[in-house]
Symmetry: C2
Subunit: 543 residues, 2 copies
Amino acid sequence: MSENNGADAQPVTTGPLPSSSKVYRTTESGGRVPFRRIGLSNGEHLDVYDTSGPYTEDDADIDVHRGLEPIRAKWLDRPHRTQLAWAKSGAITPEMEFVALREGVPAELVRDEVARGRAVIPANRCHPESEPMIIGKKFLVKVNANIGNSAVTSSAAEEVEKMVWAIRWGADTVMDLSTGKRISQTRERILRNSPVPVGTVPIYQALEKVGGDPARLSWEVYRDTVLEQCEQGVDYMTVHAGVLLRYVPLTANRVTGIVSRGGSIMAAWCLAHHEENFLYTHFSELCEILRDYDVTFSLGDGLRPGSIADANDEAQFAELETLGELTRIAREHDVQVMVEGPGHVPLHQIPENVRREEELCGEAPFYTLGPLTTDIAPAYDHITSAIGAAAIAQAGTAMLCYVTPKEHLGLPNRDDVKTGVITYKIAAHAADLAKGHPRAQERDDALSRARFEFRWNDQFDLSLDPDTARSYHDETLPAEPAKTAHFCSMCGPKFCSMKITQDVREFAEEHGLTTVAAIEAGMRQKAAEFTSSGGRIHLPLNQ
Amino acid sequence: MSENNGADAQPVTTGPLPSSSKVYRTTESGGRVPFRRIGLSNGEHLDVYDTSGPYTEDDADIDVHRGLEPIRAKWLDRPHRTQLAWAKSGAITPEMEFVALREGVPAELVRDEVARGRAVIPANRCHPESEPMIIGKKFLVKVNANIGNSAVTSSAAEEVEKMVWAIRWGADTVMDLSTGKRISQTRERILRNSPVPVGTVPIYQALEKVGGDPARLSWEVYRDTVLEQCEQGVDYMTVHAGVLLRYVPLTANRVTGIVSRGGSIMAAWCLAHHEENFLYTHFSELCEILRDYDVTFSLGDGLRPGSIADANDEAQFAELETLGELTRIAREHDVQVMVEGPGHVPLHQIPENVRREEELCGEAPFYTLGPLTTDIAPAYDHITSAIGAAAIAQAGTAMLCYVTPKEHLGLPNRDDVKTGVITYKIAAHAADLAKGHPRAQERDDALSRARFEFRWNDQFDLSLDPDTARSYHDETLPAEPAKTAHFCSMCGPKFCSMKITQDVREFAEEHGLTTVAAIEAGMRQKAAEFTSSGGRIHLPLNQ
C-alpha cells in the first residue's frame, strides 16, 4: 500500500491488498468486470467481488486531476433512455451484462428485476467513470459510505481520499453529504475519481445557496441545483418529497422529533410558508430531469425515527405511504427508484418496516440507515446498528447505509470510515449467507479451511481486514515461525482444539475408527490394545 | 477512576463511573441490592442494574488478599439444598428475593421459573461473596466474560484485574478458563474477590494434572478436580458429558472438526480408550457432588460448529439430544442446569438452535457463544458474533458468552475485554428491548431525551461507555461550551436536524400549528402573513 501523490500533492491510497491482484473478466459488450484475486499459500486462489476500482491495481496510474478512464463512454452513444426503460422494452444493456457477470447471475435476471423496479442500476450518463452496480434484494447486499465535509471540519482533498479509502475496504457506493464551502468542487473531484455510484442530497447545496435559511428555499433554487448535479454525474439523489405539511404535527410528541437533516429542513419550509412541500408538488418535473440523465431517486425518509421510542410511529408510516405514491409516479416516468428507511428501530419492529415498504412501494429496493437497535451506546453505534442492519438486510433490504463509531458525536475520520465500512460489510455478508446467495459462502469456507489447516497468512489474507487480523495475531506471537504454528496465544499449544482434532483424525484413520458403524461394531479389543501400551497413547498432544 | 494497590502492589481498578454513585435497596431478608445511580444535569437521575460490585463505590475499601465481604454468609446457616430444591418445595430463598428486587419482578415469578428449570441462580454455598444473579429467558439477558491465563501469556494478578475490569463494564458472570500454571491460586483469588458468579471448565485443570495428555485422564482425576473447585466456590461448571464415542466420527467430514477445547479433549480420550466418555458414564455421581454445593451445570457443547459450513449439522444436534437426557438426570438430582450453544451459525439457522434446545432440554437456560454469523472477519468477531448474539437472545437465549476482537487470533488484553463486554451488553440490551423487558427502555429514553435537549454530558454519562463517547465528541469540538452547544461536528450548526426541529416546534406552537386538524383547517392566511414579512421567517436557523 503506498500513497500516490497527485499534482496538488493530494495523497490517494493505492496498491493492492495483501496477497491480492486485480483480474478482469470481459463481457460481450467489452465491459471489463473487476475482481480481486486472493492468492493462497497452497497454490489456490479465490476471486472476490471488488469495488475498489483501479486504485488497487498493481501499478495504479492515478492522477486525481485527470480522473479515471471513462469506461462507459463507448456505450453512451445511444438514445437517452433509463436502464428501467431499456429493461421494460426487453433490452439487456451493457450495464446489465456488466452487473450480471459481476454478481454471477444471468443477465436476463438482471433485466427482469430492473424492469419490475425491484432492482436499480444507478448510472448517470454523465458519470462514465463508474463501474455498473446493481442494488436489489435478489443481489448481493450493498453498503453505502457517507463522506463529505461539514462547516466545522475537513477539506475537499480529504473527501476524495475518504472515497478511495472507503471503496478500498468494500463500500459499494458513496454519498457526498458535504454541507460546507466548495460543495460543487468537492463533488466534481469525487465524481471524476469514483468507480462506484455517487449519491447526494441536493437540498444541502440548495440551502447553502440561500444562506442557510430553510424558509428562503424555493423550487427554482432546488431545481437548478439538481440540474447542476445531474450534469456533474451524480448517480442517485435523496429527495425528501414525502415530508408533507400535514405530517409535521405528527412528530410533535416524539422523543427526538425529526432527525433527518433534509426532513427537518423541509418541515421548517412547509410550516414557515404553510404550503405543501415543493418537492412533492413539483415531483413530476423532477422526474423529467432525472430521467434525462438516468439519475435514480432515493426517496428520503425525512420522518424516520431517531430513537427507539419513536420507531414505527404514525409519522414514519404516513410518510412511507406517500413514498409509495411517489414511487409509482417516478416509475411512470421510467425513473429508477430506491426508498430510504430508518434509523432507530428495536429488533422486533424491524421486519414490519420491510413488509410495509415492499407493500406500499412496489418492492422498490429498500435502503436503510442501520437501523440502530438501541440508543444507549454512543461511540459504538456502528455495532448497535450493524445488528439491525443484518436483520433488516436478511428481511430484504437491498442496501445499507453505514454508521461509524462517531455517529451522534462528531465527523468520522479515516479510521472511523474504515471501521464503519468493514462493520457493514459484515452485516451485509451475514445477510447474503442467510439469503442463500449462491457464492456468498465460498469465502467463509476458504477462510475456515485455512484456519483449520493453520495456514495463518491465508486466514489473514482472506479476511475483510488482513492488516488488522495479522497485527492482532502478532501482538502476542510475532515471530515468523508462528505463522505456521499449530496454535496461537488464545489457547496455547496444549489446548488448541483444532490441533487436537487433527491428531484425533489421524489416530482414527490409522485405527479404522472413522465411521459410526465401525464404532458400533464394538471394537473393544482395539481399545484394550491401545490402553495396554503403558497408558501412553500415540496422540502427540503433550508437546 | 483510580488504581487501588493491594498488599502485593496488584492494581485493581476502583471508583465510580462518571456522574454515578452506588445505591442499595434492601430486601426483607436483609439483602443489599446494588444499583448504579446516574445523576443528570437537570436534577433527575436514573438507577440502572449494576454488577460491578463494591469496586465502584465512592470510597471503595478493597484488599484483594482479604477479599470481599461474605454477604451471603448469614443466609447459609440452613440445610444444604439447592435453589432448585427450595423452589420446588415452594420456598422463596433470600437469593430469590435478591434477584427479584434486582430485576424489578415479583419474587414468586423467580421461584416459579427456577422450579420449572427455566431459570438458574448459580450460587455455590462456598462463594458467599457473590451477589445473587438469575439467568433465564424471562429475565434480563446476561453476558459472560471469559478470563484466564494460557500457557503462553498473562499472570494470576492480571486475571483478577480482568475480572474487576469486566464487571466494571457490565459483565454479569465471569468464567476463569486458565490453562497454565497456578490454576488453583488464580481461581482462589478471583473467587474471593468476585461479586458475580464464577464459572470454570474443570477438564482444563484435570488435563494439567495428567501432564496435558488427554488419554491419561480418568474419572478419578476429574472428580477430585471438581471437588476442589466446588470447595473453592465455583458457581457453575462446563461439563462436556455429551461428547459420546459414537458422535466423534460424525465430525470427520467437517470443515473445522471439533473446536471446543473440552470437546476435543474428551473426543481424544474416547477414541484412545475406545470407551464411552467418563463424564457421561459417571454423570449421576457428578450430580451428587454438584448438588452438595449447589453448583450449576453448564452442559458444554463440545461438538458445536466452528464454521458456517458446519452449522446445525448431525454431530451438533446429536450431542444436543444427549444434553437433553443429561438435563433430565440433573434435575432429578435437584441440580440446576444451563445448556451451552454455538458457535458459528448463519442468521437463518439461528432460531432452530433455540427451538431444538428448548424442546430437547426442557427449556433449560440456553447459554451461547455468539454465534458468529460469518467466518470472514477475524479481528472483528466481536461484531460478527454480536449480530448472532442479539438474534439468538431475541429468540430466547438467556446468557451470551462474549467474544473479543482477538477471537481466533490471540489472548484478549484489557482493551479487548472492555470492547467485548460492551459489545455484548449492546446485543443483550437489544434483545431485552425486543423481548419487551418492562424497564429496559428507560435508559434508551433517558439518553434520547438528553440527546434531543443537547445535554451532552448526560448523553455521555447515560451511555454504556461514557469515557469513549466523551472523547470521541471532544476530538473535534473539545471546548467546554461545546458541551451545551446545539450541534456537534457531525452536521455542524446549520444542519443539525434536532436544532431545526426544536425551532420548528417553537414556531408551530407560537402559531397554533401543532395538530393535523389545525393544519387541515386551511390556515393559508397565516402563511401569507409569515411570508410577507420580507421573506425572512423567524426561525433562528441561520446562525
